[in-house]
């Protein structure tokens, strides 16, 4: 009887573990995985460089580090199998006093990068919705 109970509990626990929802990585895959995201970030960095209004925020930025952390960040935000090793969003933007229009210009640079990279409109909208949700943590810090 007891054995049956323990066996039941064991099976229940096992199935509970298995039923933990697998992370939804469909957006990560739609962006082309790590390779696709790296390509988007490369174009994004170039587009930032072309945007006069925001370039001053990147004057002291270590571009290689920025690139690496951006790729990791987009990877985890879209459900990819990465570890984000960068700083938290709020402290990183602390003291930068990024305005609404500067945030929007940066988003526009990302949109151009997504267009150039040939990302479909549906995938683009999914990523933009994720990025938009970070806005409050970025502006006027």
């Amino acid at each position: 009887m007891y054995r049956c109970f323990w066996a039941g509990l064991f099976i229940f626990t096992l199935s509970a573990c298995q039923s933990i929802p697998k992370q939804d990585d469909s957006l990560y895959l739609a962006l082309g995985g790590k390779g696709g995201i790296s390509k988007i970030i490369d174009i994004f960095i170039y587009e930032i460089g072309q945007t006069e209004k925001i370039i001053h925020h990147f004057e002291d930025t270590d571009i290689d580090r920025f690139r690496e952390k951006q790729i990791e960040h987009i990877c985890i935000l879209t459900g990819g199998p990465c570890t984000y090793t960068g700083d938290e969003i709020i402290p990183v933007h602390q003291g930068m006093n990024i305005s609404e229009s500067e945030f929007n210009e940066t988003t526009n640079a990302l949109i151009r990068a997504l267009n150039i990279a040939g990302v479909s409109i549906g995938t683009r909208n999914r990523l933009l919705a994720v990025i938009a949700s970070l806005r409050a943590e970025v502006i006027y810090q």
């Binding site: 609404e100 229009s101 945030f103 929007n104 409109i121 909208n125 919705a129 938009a132 409050a136």
Partner: protein
């Protein structure tokens, strides 16, 4: 002739469409400016939205000009004007409308000054809608005819409350926008036929609504509905509706085409036809 002149000015304006988008101020996402509705306020084609014209954020200003033409079975209407948006908070607009029948018997016009204040919310970024309060101060020019038909005044003010929300990643992973506007008005046919009437001389609460979806990056498809007061016994008016497409080639220009159904106008039934509007933002 005058209509031709209007089309010519539209042609001239259309030459400005391909101004490089870098010259303009305003960092908001493309399409979020909305269009300019026929009374000069930022919105859809018929309905004012809670959005302020232009792409300016809270540290920017913008100027928008527009030209619209409506051609239905027995009537033509043209409307042009400009608006100024300050720091994503206040929109001031001016519009002139002229309305004529094909047989030249009807020749109406009016001037409209609009004021809109964004109360709270951001179209895209807040979970709640962008909400605005607006007023349109109207002055109709054809006084005798309108009084003969039963209109009480030649001047009137419309007040409206609008809530607009956009979803970047809506159904089918497309971007959607929904708008509801509550208008408080006694304007007959927008005010072209004066204000107040023999059926009712006081204000009426009217509901207006719009829905749109970006089917591609630059093309929005949508529908609009606008309730009308219908205060004159001799000149009944119906609610207005339209189906529109708007093309946003860049952040300077927006071009809208619509099929409009304006119902009864001055005793003529079933007035429907085409609407075209061009807007330029600086």
């Amino acid at each position: 002739m005058k209509f031709l002149k209007s089309w010519f000015s539209l042609f001239v304006l259309s030459q400005l469409i391909f101004i490089p988008s870098q010259v303009i101020a305003g960092g908001k996402l493309i399409g979020t400016s909305g269009g300019t509705q026929i009374e000069g306020s930022g919105g859809g084609g018929l309905v004012p939205w809670a959005t302020l014209s232009g792409y300016g954020t809270r540290d920017e200003k913008s100027v928008t000009t527009f030209f619209s033409a409506v051609s239905v079975d027995d009537f033509r209407m043209t409307s042009y004007g400009a608006s100024y948006t300050y720091h994503d908070r206040i929109e001031v607009s001016f519009a002139h409308q002229s309305f004529k029948s094909g047989d030249k018997k009807t020749d109406l016009s009016q001037d409209i000054i609009g004021l809109k204040v964004r109360l709270f919310g951001d179209l895209v970024y807040t979970p709640w809608p962008q909400v605005a309060l607006g007023a349109q101060f109207k002055n109709a020019n054809n006084t005798d005819d309108n009084q003969f038909l039963g209109a009480k005044n030649n001047q009137g003010v419309d007040y409206y409350f609008a809530a607009t929300k956009a979803w970047l990643d809506g159904p089918f992973h497309r971007s959607f926008v929904l708008n509801t506007t509550l208008r408080y008005s006694k304007a007959n046919q927008l005010g072209l036929r004066g204000f107040g009437g023999d059926k009712q001389s006081s204000y009426k609460s009217l509901l207006e609504a719009s829905a749109g979806v970006f089917i591609t990056r630059y093309w929005m498809l949508g529908v609009e509905y606008r309730q009308k007061p219908d205060l004159l016994r001799a000149a009944k008016e119906d609610d207005w509706k339209d189906i529109f497409v708007t093309f946003f080639p860049n952040k300077t220009a927006a071009l809208s085409f619509a099929f409009v159904d304006l119902g009864r106008i001055d005793g003529k039934e079933k007035q429907s036809g085409a609407y075209l509007s061009l807007q330029l933002t600086y």
